[in-house]
């Protein structure tokens, strides 16, 4: 029966790595976009204060609310990270079960 656990493990790591290599830039892009949007939002708030559209109390409140907005944007990125980890783990498990099935058929 052909079941080389060392080789299977190598293939599992490779499968998980392929998934993470594909998903990694998506997560990085998500985090980058979240901070870029936050920068734009803070600039907009500063501009509104400079133009007298909001007062100092509003300014403080708006900045506090932006903490929540950034948190929400990063939570969405966290979901993408979890999905990537899930896909990677399942790709590895798929390799493992495939190897087992092949070994089973060879009996």
């Amino acid at each position: 029966m052909a079941f080389d656990i060392g080789e299977v493990l190598k293939q599992m790591i490779s499968a998980a790595g392929d998934v993470l290599a594909k998903e990694g830039p998506i997560i990085k892009g998500c985090v980058k976009a979240a901070f870029e949007q936050e920068k734009d939002a803070l600039e907009e708030i500063a501009q509104a204060r400079l133009e007298g559209e909001i007062d100092d109390d509003d300014l403080k409140s708006q900045i506090a609310d932006e903490e929540d907005a950034l948190k929400a944007a990063l939570l969405a990125c966290k979901v993408k990270g979890k999905v990537a980890a899930q896909k990677a783990a399942n790709a590895a498990i798929k390799v493992f079960t495939g190897a087992l099935e092949t070994a089973f058929k060879a009996l």
């Binding site: 609310d65 929400a72 944007a73 939570l75 979890k82 999905v83 899930q86 099935e101």
Partner: protein, 161 residues
């Protein structure tokens, strides 16, 4: 001689078949909730309603924005956001989407209370708050959309926790 080797092979086959059964049905990793199209559509619908609210408010003259004029809209929007939150809370492995809904509800309640206290809503705050809600609902939609998996990934995660 042949019989003595056949027995261990049968045992091995049995063990392997058990491992395969476990690996294929019970060991797949699941870290996030399944994609819920109804939840996604609800995010878009509530987001649109909030955006329309701010559009109407900004179209109203600044000195004609008493709280009473908008209280019904606040009640309706708050109910919709609570429904969104409840749907997210009811789903396992869904803490991030739940937290995003909580943030949306927290901010909407805050702005409603501010409107009630001041009995007006300035252009500056309305414009900034409207843009923030646009981003918040986009985050909620993005989080839900991320849960949409390929067929292969779905197969791999069946019956798992």
């Amino acid at each position: 001689m042949r019989a003595s080797t056949a027995v261990p092979q049968r045992v091995l086959a049995l063990i392997l078949s058990l491992i395969v059964a476990v690996a294929t049905t019970g060991c797949a990793v699941k870290l996030v909730a399944d994609y819920d199209n109804a939840a996604f559509e609800e995010i878009l619908a509530v987001g649109k309603k909030v955006d329309k609210f701010y559009g109407t408010l900004l179209e109203t003259k600044a000195d004609e924005r008493p709280y009473a004029k908008f209280s019904d809209d606040y009640v309706s929007i708050e109910t919709d956001i609570r429904s969104m939150l409840l749907r997210n809370q009811a789903r396992a492995l869904n803490s991030e989407s739940t937290q995003i809904s909580e943030i949306i509800l927290k901010l909407m309640t805050k702005y409603k209370d501010r409107h009630k206290t001041r009995n007006t809503y300035t252009d500056g705050n309305a414009r900034l708050d409207r843009n923030r809600f646009t981003r918040l609902f986009a985050s909620a939609a993005s989080a839900e959309e991320a849960k949409k998996l390929d067929t292969d990934d779905k197969d791999a995660e069946k019956d798992s926790k």
